[in-house]
Structure formats: C-alpha cells, structure tokens
C-alpha cells in the first residue's frame, strides 16, 4: 500500500509526457488521456487518504536506501488533505474551466500537480526545494501561456521573484545541512535540538527558509508578483494558481516550522516568533489596504489572498493546537473560495466583458447563479458562519484569546471588517447598482473561455466551489478532528 506514495508523484510527472508528445498530432486523444491522468491522480489521493485513515501515517523510502541518505516520502492526516485538494482542484478545473488546451500547456498543468504533490508528501527538505521549483517553473510558464507582452512581462517578474525565493530557501537548507549534516525532516528535528536552537546557523536557516517560502505565499513585502501574475493569466490558470500556488507552500511552512524546527524553537528564540507575528500583521494590513483600493477584481482577490496568508502566519506564530488548526483550515478555506472566485471572474469577463468592480454593476440580475456563488465565496473570505472562513477565524481568535495575544485578536477582528468592506464593494455592485446601459453579452479576447457548454461548466465549478466553502464550514469540526492527531503530535 505504501507504494502508492511514489505513484502520487510519478503518475503526473510521467503523465506530463503524454500531452507533450500527443498534443500536436492527436489533440482529442491527448486531452482525454490528460483527463484520465488527472482523475487517476484523484483516485490515488483518495486511496492514500483511506489508507492513512485506516492504519495511520506511513513513510516510504525511494529505492530502499537507509532513511538518513534516502529520499523519504511521508503521508499523514495533514499532508493527505493537501494532496487531495491538489488532485481534485486540478482535475475539476481541467474538466470545467479549461478549454484552451494545447499539448505543451497540458504538460505544464500536470507538472504543476506533480510539483505541488511532491511538496505535500516529501520528508526531505532538499527535495522540497526541487518540487518547489518544478511547480514554480510550471506556474511561470502557465502565466506566460497567454499571448502578448503583459503576460510575458508579468511571468518574467514572477519568475525572478519566485526564483529568488526558492534560492533563499535552498540557502536555508544549506545552513541546516552545515549545522546538522542531514536533510531528512525527522533527522533534522532531533539534530537541531542537539545543536541548540539559539545557534546562529539554525536561526539563520529558519529566517532564510521562511523568507523563501514567504515569497511563494506572497507575504508583505514580497507580494507584488501576485496581483500582476493573477490578473494577466487566463481564468483557468489564475483559478489553479490562486487555489494551490500559495496554499501548498503555506502547508510546507507549517510542516517545516512544526515538524523540523518545532514549537520549542519558537519558544527558545522569541524574536523569531515576534518576527512572524509582525510579518503576519503587516500582510493582513497591506493585503486589506490594497484590496480596498483595487478596481480590477482579480487584483482585489490577489490582495485578499495576501491578507488570508497573513492570518495563516499569525496562526503559525501563536503555535497552539487551535492556532495551527486555524492556519490549516484557513489555507483550505482560502483555496476553495479563491478557486471559485477566479473561475467566476472568467465567466463575467467572457460574458459581459466585465473585469472591474464597477463593471460588475447589475450583473446579479443577468447572471444570478454565478453572482450568488460569488457572494457565498466572499462570505467565506470575510469569515461569516456557516462557511469554512468562519471556522478558520474562529479557531484563530480562540487560540489568540487563550494565549492572551490581544493585539492578534484585534487584528483578526479588524481583518474581518476590512474583508467585509472589500467584499461588500463587489457584492453591492453585483446586486444593488443599476446596470450602466446595455448588458448585451460582449465578446472580448480576455476571457480564454469558449461560449456555450464550456461556460456552463465553468458556472458549475463556481457553484460547487461556493457550496464547498459551506460544506467544509459545516464539517469544520470533523476537519479539525482529522488534523488533530498530527497537530497535537507537533506541539
């Protein structure tokens, strides 16, 4: 059964060859096979999840080498959720939102899945770097997939910033190796304690690793690439990136802080914990401020992600079981809501040529189903019950009150008000504003969505994503209980 673990990475990475080879000559067969690979990946993810539920966490060392030098993989209650999220999102978006398929871009789609799945299941900090770069490269190229200068320039900047982040992470890995002589997460955990948490090497390694992943999470002040890249990409790509691109590195940050450095490190070096709180609060403030000032909805959503990731980092800094659960639930909740919202921006752009907040005026009457789903997703981002966003914020506030971190309580509550303000702007436009004259369907070149059935499938995705925010919200106690054994093992 543990042989399923390497398959999780091998299937999409080898499968990426299929559209690259067949895409040009047999586009229909290539597309069907790609769907098959993505659905197969969902099956594998479910199988691993069931296996972990039945018999607990499992590890696998590729090639049967000793764990100290081998390439370890590990699946537990937390990583399987993110593996499943990656597989389901990639498959669902491919089937519903994605229409403008070519062989090479389908390959990138599969490589992105392979890289993110690798980040979720690896038990080795260097392999995490490699998977970070695999998913990064695929993301840069996907953003550039649309023709034109804006996409190429945004992708170029995304590449520069993303590579700096990944290279800083690699440097952090180097410091860890110099300090301990090992790269496996389990070995590092024991050896770092032996080296001493206040060793300059260890503290520097933590800072470099956090800054490196902070670029991928788009934490303030490293957030500038995100709105640029998400605003120029096609709707399917921006939905994929917004759902997974920062979520899985966010999971990696949680994993590294608690499984490698451990909460004892945060206790031993209070300055690091303060630094995390400051970065988290700054991201919440900057994300909220910029989100309020955007006219382009896709840029607004990108800054909303900056705010959400700030909350995740605050959860990591508080480092109690409730706070870490909050961080994980917020990651899942933001992913589901953003996927639906970015797919919806594609529907509005294609059908009405509307990309700005003002352009959304009156669309609630013309596209009631999409507008309703958008409102629900926004409610989850704001954090009102019964959505998953509420569950995440609730756990975070409870954790902050328990640790008497009153500043954090205030920040989380203020973030809700700010979120209400920017979400309210969009929802108010959708429902209360009069349409500015004709609302005839406008064909723009900006959508990347075909007409007819493809657009209806996109609406289905948006509605399912909105329902998912409510369903995961209602099941948030179960989700937290599912995370609990692993989270409590960390702390």
């Amino acid at each position: 059964m543990s042989h399923l673990l390497p398959l999780l990475i091998a299937v999409p990475i080898i499968g990426a060859l299929v559209p690259a080879v067949l895409g040009a000559r047999r586009p229909v067969i290539s597309r069907r096979l790609t769907v098959g690979i993505l659905v197969g990946q969902v099956g594998l993810a479910v199988a691993v999840l069931v296996a972990v539920a039945a018999t607990g966490p499992r590890t696998y060392v590729v090639g049967g080498l000793p764990a100290a030098v081998g390439i370890g993989l590990r699946a537990d209650a937390v990583s399987t959720v993110f593996v499943l999220l990656v597989a389901v999102t990639a498959a669902a978006l491919y089937v519903t939102v994605r229409t403008d398929t070519t062989g090479p871009t389908d390959s990138l789609w599969l490589l992105f899945v392979a890289g993110l799945t690798g980040i979720a299941v690896t038990a080795d900090v260097f392999n995490l770097y490699v998977f970070l770069e695999i998913s990064g490269l695929a993301a840069y190229a996907l953003v550039a997939g649309r023709h034109g200068t804006r996409a190429a320039l945004a992708a170029f900047h995304y590449l520069l910033v993303g590579t700096i982040g990944a290279t800083l992470y690699l440097l952090g890995v180097g410091y860890l190796y110099v300090a301990t002589g090992t790269l496996g997460m389990a070995g590092l955990r024991a050896d770092l304690a032996a080296v001493g948490y206040d060793s300059p090497l260890v503290v520097t390694a933590f800072v470099l690793v956090t800054v490196g992943l902070g670029v991928k999470l788009a934490l303030f002040p490293l957030q500038a690439w995100k709105p640029d890249a998400y605003a120029v990409a096609t709707p399917d790509v921006s939905a994929l990136l917004a759902t997974l691109g920062s979520t899985v590195p966010g999971y990696a940050l949680v994993r590294l802080v608690f499984d490698v450095f451990t909460a004892s490190f945060l206790d031993a070096v209070p300055l690091v914990r303060t630094g995390l709180v400051v970065v988290g609060v700054a991201s919440v403030a900057a994300g909220g401020y910029f989100a309020l000032r955007q006219s382009d909805v896709r840029r607004l959503l990108a800054y909303s992600s900056v705010l959400q990731m700030g909350l995740v980092v605050i959860g990591i800094a508080i480092a109690t079981p409730a706070a870490v659960t909050a961080a994980l639930v917020l990651l899942v909740g933001n992913a589901v809501a953003k996927g639906g919202l970015y797919a919806a921006t594609g529907v509005f752009a294609r059908r009405f040529g509307a990309t700005t907040v003002d352009g959304y005026a009156g669309l609630g009457r013309d596209a009631p189903l999409t507008a309703g789903a958008v409102s629900v997703a926004f409610i989850s981002l704001v954090g009102l019950p019964p959505t998953v966003g509420f569950a995440g914020k609730w756990y975070l506030v409870v954790a902050a009150v328990d640790s008497r971190a009153w500043v954090v309580v205030a920040v989380v509550l203020l973030s809700t008000l700010v979120s209400l303000a920017y979400a309210g702007r969009v929802v108010e436009r959708l429902y209360l504003a009069a349409a500015p004259g004709g609302t005839e369907p406008v064909a723009t070149d900006g959508g990347g969505l075909a007409d007819g059935p493809a657009r209806e499938r996109t609406v289905v995705f948006v509605v399912v994503a909105a329902l998912a925010t409510v369903l995961v919200g209602l099941g948030s106690t179960e989700l937290a209980a599912w995370f609990a054994p692993v989270v409590e093992g960390w702390l």
Partner: protein, 123 residues
C-alpha cells in the same frame, strides 16, 4: 599538489570562499534589482544562484580531501553537497531557459531589452 589546489586550499582555509559567496549574493541581487536590461537581470539571477552553489561546495570541502572514489584512499570531500548542487544546477538551467524564452518574446514584440521601454510601450 598543484598550485591551484594550494591556492584553493588557502582560500578555503582562511574562509575566503565564504566572503566570495557573500559578495556574489550581493552583486547578483543588486544587478537583478537595479539593472533595466532584462538579459542582465537574468545574469544577476545566475550570479546569485551560483553564489549559493559556492556556499554548498565550500561547506563540503576539507583540507587535502579527494574525490570520494571507491578506488581512492581518504580523506574525502563530502560528496552529498556536490550531488545536491548538480541537481540545483539543472534546476537553474531550466529557470534560465524559461526566462530567456520570455525575454525573446518581449524582444520580438518591442525590439528592446529595456524594461522601462517595454513598460512605456504597454497599451
């Protein structure tokens, strides 16, 4: 022992290579951020990445260390960082290839490598 070995040994012995690593990180990042030319930005990125590679290789060095071959006798340099950096070099080459492809596309459209000019030409 050749002159190069002696020189490299002294440089590492006095930890000079770590100074070079720090300098290259600074130079690479400065060029990347400061230069208006997109190709030079990529060069800056490469210098930055190479600096990190140098850090790993320096950490693996030991005085009078040899290549870790089964037929040879020790002491050996640590082979693991070398293997890691071989992988990282491959990653770096892929990144450079994608970056250059994007710059080629921008150049085809605008006939310039200047970021300012491309931004101003944007519709």
């Amino acid at each position: 022992m050749t002159t190069f070995d002696a020189l490299f040994g002294t440089m590492v012995g006095s930890r000079g290579a770590y100074v070079v690593y720090a300098l290259l990180v600074g130079i690479g990042l400065f060029v990347l951020v400061d230069d208006d030319n997109l190709v030079k930005k990529i060069v800056g990125l490469n210098v930055f990445q190479t600096a990190v590679f140098l850090f790993f290789i320096t950490a693996a060095y030991r005085a009078d260390g040899r290549a870790p071959l089964l037929s040879a006798t020790g002491p050996f340099v640590n082979p693991l960082p070398h293997v890691l950096i071989l992988t990282a070099i491959v990653v770096g080459v892929s990144i450079t290839a994608v970056a250059l492809a994007l710059v080629v596309r921008l150049y085809d459209e605008h006939g310039t490598f200047s970021e300012t000019a491309i931004r101003e030409a944007r519709p």
